[in-house]
């Protein structure tokens, strides 16, 4: 019995951790640039695939480090070439642009790496269960949660204590004033987008170890990330964090009693929030009205 309880808690943490990582990246980009990055799931896939290609040369740990950085670089290119031009226009254009980008990246992945699923090799020590009794908790799961915690803490610390982080947070509230104060807003936005893509790429590498690689792997994570943001409150990163954990836990707990409904519960939470507290749990009124 205690096995089941312990299992639920860890599983909820793991699922929640994934949603959080993805949602934070999306949220960052959304808050500062007002752009919904439809291609976020595909940056995730790209991160995973790049790690796959790099790991023979750099080993798993090297790939884990380098792949998200490469994804971020790609994000910079995309932002500079395309997204930058549509910032002050009607939001429909940014949606369409990232939507089209999603198609292109997904097809590129399929073209370069093939439509079949690919396995991602893990270092042996990570693939073991931590104790025979707790056979369902492999070291890899512990590792994943640890990485996510470190990344999230790092992100929040960065936003709080560095100058760039401060500017990003200020820009979320009033970009015009920030620009007036002499900050190079264009570079700030590029940097912000790159950080978002870095998070997506990291999620991809972690996900690849768990579920393997395939061109559609990001699609299933995109919607829960949206919902995490809406539930947590648009404009608040801590809200996104809470939202992601909430729906992750809810999904995991539901799996125990009624497995087919584990996705349904996420949507139920969404509707409940929209009905009862439309600005989200920690959202700020007036953010987007």
């Amino acid at each position: 019995m205690w096995q089941v309880v312990l299992f639920n808690v860890t599983n909820g943490l793991i699922i929640g951790a994934f949603y959080v990582l993805m949602a934070l990246g999306l949220s960052l980009i959304l808050n500062l640039s007002n752009v919904i990055n439809f291609a976020h799931g595909n940056f995730l896939a790209l991160g995973g695939y790049l790690a796959y290609t790099l790991s023979p040369a750099l080993g798993y740990w090297g790939a884990l480090l380098v792949s998200p950085l490469l994804t971020a670089l790609l994000g910079v290119a995309v932002e500079r070439l395309m997204i930058r031009r549509i910032y002050n226009r009607d939001p429909v254009y940014s949606l369409l642009l990232t939507f089209g980008l999603a198609f292109v990246i997904q097809d590129a992945c399929r073209y370069i790496w093939g439509p079949n699923g690919l396995p991602m090799g893990l270092p042996d020590m990570l693939a073991q269960p931590i104790t025979p009794a707790l056979f369902f908790i492999t070291w890899y799961r512990v590792f994943m949660v640890t990485i996510v915690i470190v990344t999230v803490v790092g992100l929040f610390a960065f936003l709080r204590h560095t100058r760039i982080g401060l500017r990003i947070r200020a820009g979320t509230f009033d970009l015009e004033t920030v620009a007036t104060l002499g900050v190079n807003v264009r570079n700030l936005r590029t940097f912000n987008f790159a950080v978002g893509c870095l998070l997506a790429g990291l999620s991809g590498v972690l996900a690849a170890g768990q579920i393997g690689l395939n061109p559609n792997m990001g699609d299933d994570l995109l919607m829960p990330s949206f919902i995490a943001i809406i539930v947590g409150g648009v404009g608040s990163l801590i809200g996104t964090l809470c939202g992601g954990l909430l729906i992750g836990m809810a999904a995991a707990l539901t799996t125990v009693f009624y497995p087919s409904a584990s996705e349904a519960v996420i949507y139920a939470i969404l509707m409940a929030v929209l009905l009862l507290r439309p600005r989200g749990l920690l959202g700020e009124e007036g953010m987007f009205s």
Partner: protein, 330 residues
């Protein structure tokens, strides 16, 4: 009475608009004759009509009111499922199925619109996406009722009885195409009248400057909600036609990728024009048909087209060479 007729006559298109109308309708009515010689086929034209209708409905919200919904496929799909479920479980009647589907999708949109009408911009769009995905999820999980992942099957169009005379639309591509054209004409006429009315002008005013509209005493939220509802009803109607076209309803008609296609059609054709979405739908459907036959990598091409349109042709095909127009005229 004469004042009423005068007002109505005011609403009718005249001059250049009339010529455009005549050209477009001539083309549409004669499709079965010229399309095959260009390598097309009538079923393709039927699909263009259905998607074009949905896109024109979306355009009422997007182009004329200036509000972005990226989840309109939900109402389209609900219309399809509504019609299909009616035909399968309730009664073998095409008109009733169409009514049920349109009501289902339209009401869902109306009720949802009430929830989010105070939001704007990107957040509004996000909510519409999430709402759409909710229905998608329901459709493919509820196996016993909706057929789940495989879609709703075992229903088909029924002949329509007009008293003694029965109009059989079950066989024959051409006959069904004209049936679609008739419904399309009716819906488009209603939309056209609406958009030329004071209500339509108010929508444009809201699009141009919401704050000023509010200062003028216009109940902005109510107008946006109405515009949203009407667009959902039209999308749902288009959905019922789609179900009749395929004799099938499947979860992908609810997915956000279809929503994206509708938005692209509207933008490619010209967001702020009346016929733009139809032209966009024609272009998009034919392009997709052509490209997917040529290469497996058609997704890249479609994606690139999206990107090019956004970056270089944001006004769309019919919006490209617009003269400056006097403010306030739609």
């Amino acid at each position: 009475m004469s004042a009423f007729f005068a007002a109505a006559r005011e609403r009718l298109p005249k001059g250049q608009d009339l010529i455009v109308l005549v050209v477009i309708w001539t083309l549409l009515v004669t499709v079965p004759f010229w399309l095959p010689s260009l390598g097309g086929y009538t079923a393709l034209a039927s699909k263009v009509l259905v998607f074009g209708l949905a896109a024109m409905g979306l355009n009422m919200l997007l182009g004329f009111t200036g509000v972005l919904s990226f989840g309109h496929a939900a109402y389209f799909g609900l219309g399809a499922y509504g019609a299909g479920l009616t035909l399968r479980y309730l009664v073998h009647s095409t008109p009733l199925a169409m009514l049920a589907g349109t009501l289902f999708g339209g009401l869902a949109g109306t009720l949802f619109g009430m929830l989010i009408v105070r939001r704007r911009g990107v957040y509004f769009a996000m909510c519409t996406i999430a709402f759409g995905q909710l229905w998608y999820y329901l459709a493919y999980s509820w196996n016993d009722f909706t057929g789940g992942f495989d879609g709703l099957r075992d229903f088909h169009r029924e002949p329509i009885g007009f008293g003694r005379f029965t109009f059989d639309i079950t066989q024959g591509e051409t006959r069904f195409y004209f049936f679609l054209l008739a419904i399309f004409a009716a819906a488009v006429a209603v939309m056209g009248l609406l958009l030329r009315s004071p209500f339509g002008r108010t929508l444009v005013a809201i699009r141009e400057n919401e704050r000023r509209a509010r200062f003028l005493g216009i109940p902005v939220e109510r107008h946006i909600w109405l515009s949203f509802s009407i667009s959902c009803f039209i999308a749902a109607l288009a959905g019922t036609l789609y179900a009749l076209l395929n004799n099938f309803a499947d979860p992908l008609t609810l997915h956000y990728s279809l929503s994206g296609y509708f938005v692209v059609m509207t933008v490619i054709g010209g967001m702020r024009t009346f016929w733009g979405p139809l032209v966009g739908a024609a272009l998009f459907v034919m392009l997709q048909d052509y490209i997917s036959s040529m290469t497996v990598n058609w997704m890249s091409f479609i994606g690139v087209i999206f990107i090019l349109v956004v970056l270089f042709f944001p006004r769309g095909l019919l919006g490209m060479r617009r003269q400056t127009r006097s403010a306030g005229k739609a």
